[in-house]
């Protein structure tokens, strides 16, 4: 048994170590793979705030992942073609600046999280699961039937966006950007979890009635958690689109929502590093099993079934003492 903080530190060191090792042994593909794991981890951390801390089982987080992706795609494609997005009372132009794209992605995701949250948080339990899934499907069909940005075929961006002074097309430099963002997200989530709001959220998940008796508004607290959660997943979506230099409706699909949830369960629900470990494991499985059989999802399904039915606490929970109070 290992204390989970050592496990967390270990994971945090291993990720850049793998990337640096790949850099020196000239394996750019491996760096890209690590970057993908980092981005998935950020998406998972976002969902974990709603799901792990808030107890809100959202099966529609692909909405925010996709919105982040399309925020990047739309802004970058307008900058690419030099056509303004809106030219009327005022002018909105596209941009290739990563920082602006991230901000827009988070803003848009947050706005839609607010809207979806206002509607879906009126329900609870299974209704909430089904409603979030249904809204996800709505965005999926919308992105398919809207031809302006590629429709079903998606949108190709030729050059990765700019980040001051760095060559973002160099895999190791882009990795550094995403890994820094992962660190910031983890730090933010750590403080959020231990803040007053984090404690409220934790309490709401366990005994909502008592929290309400104390005079805390459940709906408002859940809504705030849902919006923060959506914004972080939206940021990951923008990064993912930048990694592939491509966005498509697949980012909105229900499978994407399911996969983000899988990152969390593989690592451990409600644990700070759960999504990080889960995302790395997911990428590792994809990489290893894809070599064994082209039907690797069948093995993923079996592993997932095993984790849910037997190893309920995920990898971190199975390896470390049960010290987090997130049952």
């Amino acid at each position: 048994m290992i204390a989970s903080k050592y496990l967390n530190a270990g994971v945090f060191i291993v990720i850049p170590f793998v990337a640096i090792l790949a850099y020196f042994s000239d394996e750019p593909f491996l760096i890209t793979l690590t970057t993908k794991a980092v981005i998935f981890a950020i998406a998972g951390i976002g969902l974990n705030i709603a799901l792990g801390y808030g107890g809100l089982i959202s099966l529609g987080h692909a909405v925010f992942f996709g919105l982040g992706g399309y925020a990047m795609g739309i802004l970058a494609s307008h900058a690419q073609s030099n056509v303004p997005i809106y030219d009327g009372l005022f002018l909105i132009e596209g941009t290739k600046s990563m920082i602006i794209i991230w901000l827009v992605a988070m803003l848009v995701s947050g706005l839609f999280a607010l809207l979806i949250g206002l509607l879906s948080l009126r329900t609870s339990g299974v209704y909430f699961i089904m409603v979030t899934l249904a809204f996800g499907e709505m965005f999926y069909y919308f992105s398919i039937s809207w031809p302006a940005y590629g429709g079903e075929d998606g949108l190709l961006i030729y050059v990765r966006n700019n980040f001051s002074g760095l060559n973002t097309l160099d895999p190791i430099q882009f990795f550094s950007i995403t890994f820094s963002l992962l660190a910031i997200t983890l730090l933010f989530t750590y403080f959020l979890k231990n803040s007053f709001f984090g404690l409220v959220l934790n309490a709401i998940r366990q005994t909502p009635d008592r929290v309400e008796t104390v005079g805390i508004n459940l709906f408002k607290s859940r809504l705030i958690a849902f919006v923060i959660s959506g914004m972080i997943t939206g940021l990951a979506g923008a990064l993912f689109a930048d990694l592939n230099r491509f966005v498509s409706p697949t980012m909105f699909s229900w499978q994407t929502s399911g996969e983000i949830m899988v990152f969390i369960i593989l690592g451990g629900v409600g644990r700070l590093f759960g999504p990080v470990v889960g995302a790395c494991l997911f990428i590792l499985l994809e990489y290893l099993l894809d070599g064994v059989s082209e039907f690797w999802h069948i093995y993923l399904g079996l592993i997932l079934l095993f984790v849910v039915l037997i190893a309920k606490n995920g990898v971190i929970g199975s390896l470390s003492r049960r010290e987090t109070s997130n049952d």
Partner: protein, 304 residues
């Protein structure tokens, strides 16, 4: 115009009754066992594949339909005994993840056996062609059969639940499962029967709709999500709600994509047709959102 209108109404009704077959199983399983089953769409797919495979083997359409029901029920039963049974006492998150895992296994398994290319189920002569309805409307005979079959199944389900001993047990299971276990009903057999019944309905509708579309991996999930919308609208656990919700969703989807683009052209001019098409594709979700605003637990849902 009016002929086309009635034709679209019938199409909406046909979509509605087929959605009901899917939603009925989901809502029963949730009502009785408290389980959210994402893999219900896989049973729909299994039914369609079993039908397509049997039709190719025997050439008989009726045998194909029979095979779809049997295959889905048997797979459902095995699934319940091996895995689903362990999920009843677990939280919703575990249920979602385990049934998501089952989707992955069923989809990839089907792809391993049948490959990635779609299969086709063709209609026998006695079901193809079209009929003239009163008022001179020409309508595809098979779609009319679907409406009839759907309504008959709905009636049968109503009688099963309200007029038979099994139905009585199902209703009792919905309200108090400890009590009916204490009264000597074998609860785990009841659960297996209910799950297999839901599975059979899903497989049946998969085969029936498989004739209109192609039979392929991944065909079940879009229907599953529509069935979720139906249940959210109708209220979880209510068969009546599932029926009303299904007809409402079927009608809204069909009539929306038929009327709204033209309506937009009429109101906003020719350039708006495209906006109308987009709105039409989102209409059922908008309907769901509106119902959530006023009735968060659905039209016929008691408890949330």
């Amino acid at each position: 115009m009016s002929i086309l209108f009635i034709e679209q109404l019938l199409n909406g009704l046909q979509l509605g009754v087929m959605l009901f077959l899917m939603a009925a199983g989901l809502t029963l399983v949730f009502g009785v066992m408290g389980l959210i089953n994402l893999a219900h769409g896989s049973l729909y797919m299994i039914g369609a594949f079993a039908a397509a495979f049997t039709a190719e083997l025997t050439g008989s359409f009726l045998l194909a339909i029979l095979a779809s029901i049997v295959a889905a029920a048997v797979v459902g039963m095995i699934m319940e005994v091996l895995i689903i049974r362990r999920l009843y006492n677990k939280d919703h998150l575990s249920q979602v993840l385990a049934t998501f895992a089952l989707i992955l296994i069923f989809s990839e398994g089907t792809r391993m056996i049948f490959g990635s290319f779609p299969l086709y189920l063709s209609l026998p002569d006695y079901l193809s062609g079209s009929v003239i309805l009163p008022g001179g409307i020409q309508y595809a005979f098979y779609r009319l059969v679907l409406i009839g079959v759907g309504l008959v199944v709905a009636l049968g389900l109503y009688l099963l639940i309200n007029r038979t001993r099994l139905g009585l047990q199902i209703q009792a299971g919905e309200s108090d499962r400890e009590m009916i276990a204490a009264l000597g009903v074998n609860i785990s057999t009841l659960y297996t029967i209910v799950f297999a019944l839901g599975a059979a309905l899903a497989g049946f509708s998969g085969a029936l709709v498989g004739v209109l579309q192609s039979v392929q991996v991944g065909m079940g999930e879009p229907v599953l999500i529509l069935a979720f919308v139906v249940i959210v609208i109708g209220g979880i656990g209510s068969i009546k709600g599932a029926f009303i919700g299904a007809i409402l969703v079927g009608m809204t989807d069909t009539m929306g994509s038929f009327l709204i683009p033209d309506m937009f052209v009429y109101v906003f001019g020719a350039g708006a047709k495209f906006a109308g098409t987009i709105i039409a594709s989102m209409l059922i979700y908008i309907l769901m959102a509106i119902i959530l605003l006023f009735k968060p637990s659905g039209l016929y849902g008691g408890k949330s």
